[in-house]
């Protein structure tokens, strides 16, 4: 591992080397309209095309400085792809672009949502400790349904725009973040299986 002190000011990683500030809009990078719903096939194809152009392997025979630029460019393209591929990250990113970044630390005050989450978690724990596949499947199904509803609410709020619309979208996005974590835990193998 190498460590160095950067003399760059506070710009997005990699963006400074490009004449076009690609860091400003990941959708434009992949030739996609700024929207929650996107053409995954096109995202994928654009990603591979960009990687073919900037991946450091294409510059392996060039001076170190060119290789370093390629590393930073390719990292930026990967970061953009990752952000747009993942529904939750895409939602957060859209709010950021709209000038309403989500404060993930902010607590959720929706009591009904919280109670539902607590109940799902209890069922998840119970299902896991008993290795009860039926309960686990039920929890997953419930959480997925919740995710679908929250996603629709997010899209509706984001499209409406304005302070009220973005606030509603923000609220949905934070809740999606919760449900996502629950879903991830539900997909992990039961505690008996060792993870190396």
């Amino acid at each position: 591992m190498k460590v160095s002190v950067s003399d760059q000011s506070s710009r997005p990683v990699g963006a400074d080397l490009l004449a076009v500030d690609l860091g400003a809009n990941y959708f434009a990078l992949f030739d996609l309209p700024v929207d929650y719903l996107l053409d995954h096939q096109q995202l994928k194809q654009s990603h591979l095309r960009l990687q073919r152009a900037v991946h450091p392997d294409r510059f392996a025979n060039q001076p170190d400085s060119s290789q370093l630029q390629a590393v930073r460019c390719a990292a930026l393209v990967n970061e953009a792809f990752d952000t747009l591929s993942c529904p939750l990250k895409r939602a957060f990113y859209l709010l950021e672009l709209a000038g309403h970044p989500v404060d993930k630390e902010q607590t959720i005050t929706d009591v009904a949502f919280f109670e539902e989450q607590m109940s799902l978690r209890e069922q998840l724990e119970a299902g896991r400790s008993r290795a009860d596949a039926a309960t686990l499947a039920l929890v997953q199904q419930h959480a997925q349904g919740l995710m679908t509803r929250l996603t629709s609410a997010f899209v509706e709020g984001w499209r409406r725009g304005g302070d009220a619309g973005y606030a509603a979208a923000s609220d949905s996005a934070r809740k999606m973040h919760f449900v996502q974590r629950l879903l991830e835990e539900a997909q992990q193998p039961p505690a008996t299986g060792s993870i190396t």
Binding site: M1, K2, V3, S4, V5, S6, D7, S9, S10, P12, V13, G14, L17, L18, A19, V20, D21, L22, A24, N25, F27, A28, D31, P33, V34, Q45, L48, R49, L50, Q51, R52, A53, V54, H55, P56, D57, R58, F59, A60, N61, Q62, P63, S65, S66, Q69, V71, R72, C73, A75, N78, E79, F81, D82, L97, A98, G161, P189, G193, I195, T196
Partner: protein, 628 residues
């Protein structure tokens, strides 16, 4: 459509192929391969052997690598070092905990264990460099000239310290390392080109790689010549060696012996006997074993039950990796086997039953990794153009930082596509705090103490501000070799913080330089000649690269810029025959610096060309849209 794939810098030049090799630096044996007549070929030594035992013997006066070193293992076990890959990038406690049976004498130094030999203490990096030199020499003989670059394979599951140590070994051996690539990815590359029949279809490939000392599982998607690793997992301390140890335990139990009573000589004899029995059991249903006064028979069924816990560990890694990739075993189209231990019948049947399909094994599992590395070396050195495959790999382990309470906070998750970079913001928690310590970790566990500590660094010279006002941005970057670098800036005042690093493992640049110089001194004063040769090779490479760039992308320069660069490049060319190493190095460095703006411009042009031919207007529209 707009699928016009741009091919930047490499044009094939059949008359002027560059010499490149792929090296599989293995735990028990190593290989070197090169592409000749369009096909990867493993290269043999004068005796016709392809496998070089990864063993080095340091005698009073001589040094032997490979089979000749192995012959010394029985008479002189303390000076005969094998399985050195297990010690790369590890500290002494690690090594003792993992391999208690070692007949070697270690001394601990500040950041790396050294092995006592008749030629003085040697680090695992130096020992690996000796193996690499031997293989490079073999390749240079076979290819009749100096190598321009090599690709070295590492287990996909190697952490940063282990990768860095491998890179240091290449540098110490005087080799230009084009890339470190992951062993299972190399195996997929060797098979992928071989079986690529239907180009339009995505295929999911799982590579099960059980070698002498390491286990890897990688899941890849192959799509139009792009090898995209979806997830990877494994165990860097699980392989054929452990199977030998398991048999040895059984023998000792049968013979009512204690391990601790064995001399180093007896230990290495016993392990050899067990390895032989294991190989016999690949084809036979029982193997005779003899140890001191005891002799007996190991049945295949007994052998299977002895090793099944080890195989179960590999299968649980496979399951986790498939989950990480979001796939079920049925979604895997093809299974590739690599590593000599996949010859074991139990391994084959278990892997087959897990995936429900027969694994590919028509390439020699010992050779397939080196062959893939050779293909990649051929591409990277510039011998291939448009049809070159592209490898997109991932980082195997999560990278994180120590937070309050001894917990690890993940910054880059495992299986993130590389290269990648993430910025993390920090702040001070006391008024006028001017320094802070950052601990960088790698691993999947929650607690700091259960993960690998890569480095601890101090940020000093922060501006004195009230608590919470300083904004320190630390950028973590993982490059295409899977290697990490860290940089830091204080943003609120623009004060650049000073970073002090204490790497937990590994050699500093200066240590490597010193070792390299020392090894040249050793080689009867040809140090100056070596240095000059390296400076020339480097100058030539930079000259060629710029020449090609000028002819391909000259239109990106105005005529004055073009003339300046062309003239400077010609000047460097004229200097190639000079004997002043220092002047040549300086001229090369300054040309690189002066042409840096051109490199940036080319990168931009590359990107724009790849942006589906839309040029800058489309982008600006995109930017306007988001401001709605």
């Amino acid at each position: 459509m707009f699928l016009q794939i741009s091919e930047p810098d490499q044009s094939p030049n059949p008359g002027n192929r560059k010499r490149a090799a792929g090296i599989d630096l293995g735990t028990t044996h190593s290989l070197v391969a090169s592409v000749r007549n369009g096909q990867p070929e493993v290269l043999a030594d004068e005796q016709g052997s392809v496998l070089l035992p990864s063993v080095v013997h340091y005698g009073q006066t001589d040094r032997a690598v490979g089979a000749r070193a192995l012959e010394q293992a029985v008479q002189d076990p303390l000076n005969t070092i094998g399985s050195v890959k297990r010690f790369l990038g590890r500290d002494l406690d690690d090594i003792r905990a993992r391999t208690p049976l070692l007949p070697l004498q270690f001394v601990a130094t500040q950041n790396m264990p050294l092995v006592e030999t008749a030629q003085g203490p040697r680090s695992p990096v130096q020992i690996s460099a000796d193996i690499l030199s031997c293989l490079a020499h073999r390749a240079e003989t076979a290819l009749d000239g100096e190598l321009e670059g090599v690709v070295i394979t590492v287990p996909a599951y190697f952490d940063d310290a282990q990768r860095q140590a491998t890179r240091d070994a290449a540098q110490l051996a005087g080799l230009r390392l084009l890339r470190l690539i992951n062993e299972p990815t190399a195996a997929a590359l060797a098979y992928g080109l071989d079986t690529d029949t239907d180009d339009s279809q995505d295929r999911v490939i799982a590579v099960y790689d059980l070698g002498g000392g390491t286990f890897d599982i990688s899941v890849l998607r192959l799509h139009r010549g792009v090898f995209e690793v979806l997830a990877t997992g494994g165990d860097t301390a699980l392989g054929g060696d452990d199977i030998d140890q398991t048999i040895a335990d059984w023998v000792l139990q049968q013979a009512s012996c204690q391990r601790a009573q064995l001399s180093p000589l007896q230990q290495s004899q016993l392990l050899r006997e067990c390895c032989r029995a294991k190989q016999t059991l690949t084809t036979d249903t029982c193997a005779r074993l003899r140890y001191e006064n005891w002799s007996g028979t190991l049945e295949r069924t007994r052998f299977d039950s002895l090793i099944s816990p080890l195989i179960a560990r590999t299968l649980s890694s496979v399951a986790q990796t498939l989950r990480d990739a979001g796939l079920t075993p049925e979604a895997v189209d093809e299974v590739v086997m690599a590593g000599g231990s996949t010859r074991i019948p139990l391994v084959q049947t278990q892997v087959e039953s897990l995936f429900g399909k027969q694994p590919h094994s028509h390439l020699d599992p010992d050779q397939v990794v080196a062959m893939g590395a050779a293909l990649q070396a051929d591409t990277l050195v510039g011998n291939r153009a448009g049809d070159a495959p592209l490898l997109l790999d991932v980082t195997p382990l999560s990278l994180g930082l120590e937070t309050m309470g001894g917990l690890m906070e993940t910054v880059i998750r495992r299986n993130t596509a590389i290269p990648t970079s993430r910025a993390q913001q920090f702040t001070t928690f006391k008024d006028n705090q001017t320094a802070m310590v950052i601990q960088v970790l790698q691993g999947e566990r929650d607690l700091v103490k259960d993960n690998r500590s890569l480095a601890r660094f101090e940020l000093r010279g922060l501006p004195p501000l009230p608590a919470g006002l300083a904004r320190i941005q630390v950028v973590f970057q993982i490059d295409a070799d899977g290697l990490l670098s860290v940089s830091a800036t204080e943003q609120s005042t623009g004060v650049v913080a000073e970073v002090q690093v204490k790497p937990s493992y590994g050699l500093s640049e200066k240590q490597i330089a010193d070792m390299l110089t020392a090894s040249w001194d050793h080689a009867a004063g040809d140090r100056d000649a070596r240095q000059l040769q390296q400076a020339r090779t480097n100058a030539e490479r930079i000259h060629d690269a710029l020449k090609q760039a000028l002819s391909q992308d000259g239109q990106l320069l105005d005529s004055q810029e073009y003339d300046q660069l062309a003239q400077a490049n010609q000047k460097l060319h004229d200097m190639l025959t000079c004997t002043d190493t220092r002047a040549l190095t300086q001229a090369t460095d300054s040309l690189v610096k002066d042409s840096d703006f051109f490199a940036r411009r080319r990168m931009n042009a590359q990107l724009r060309k790849a942006l589906s031919g839309r040029g800058i207007d489309g982008l600006e529209q995109g930017l306007t849209h988001n401001q709605d």
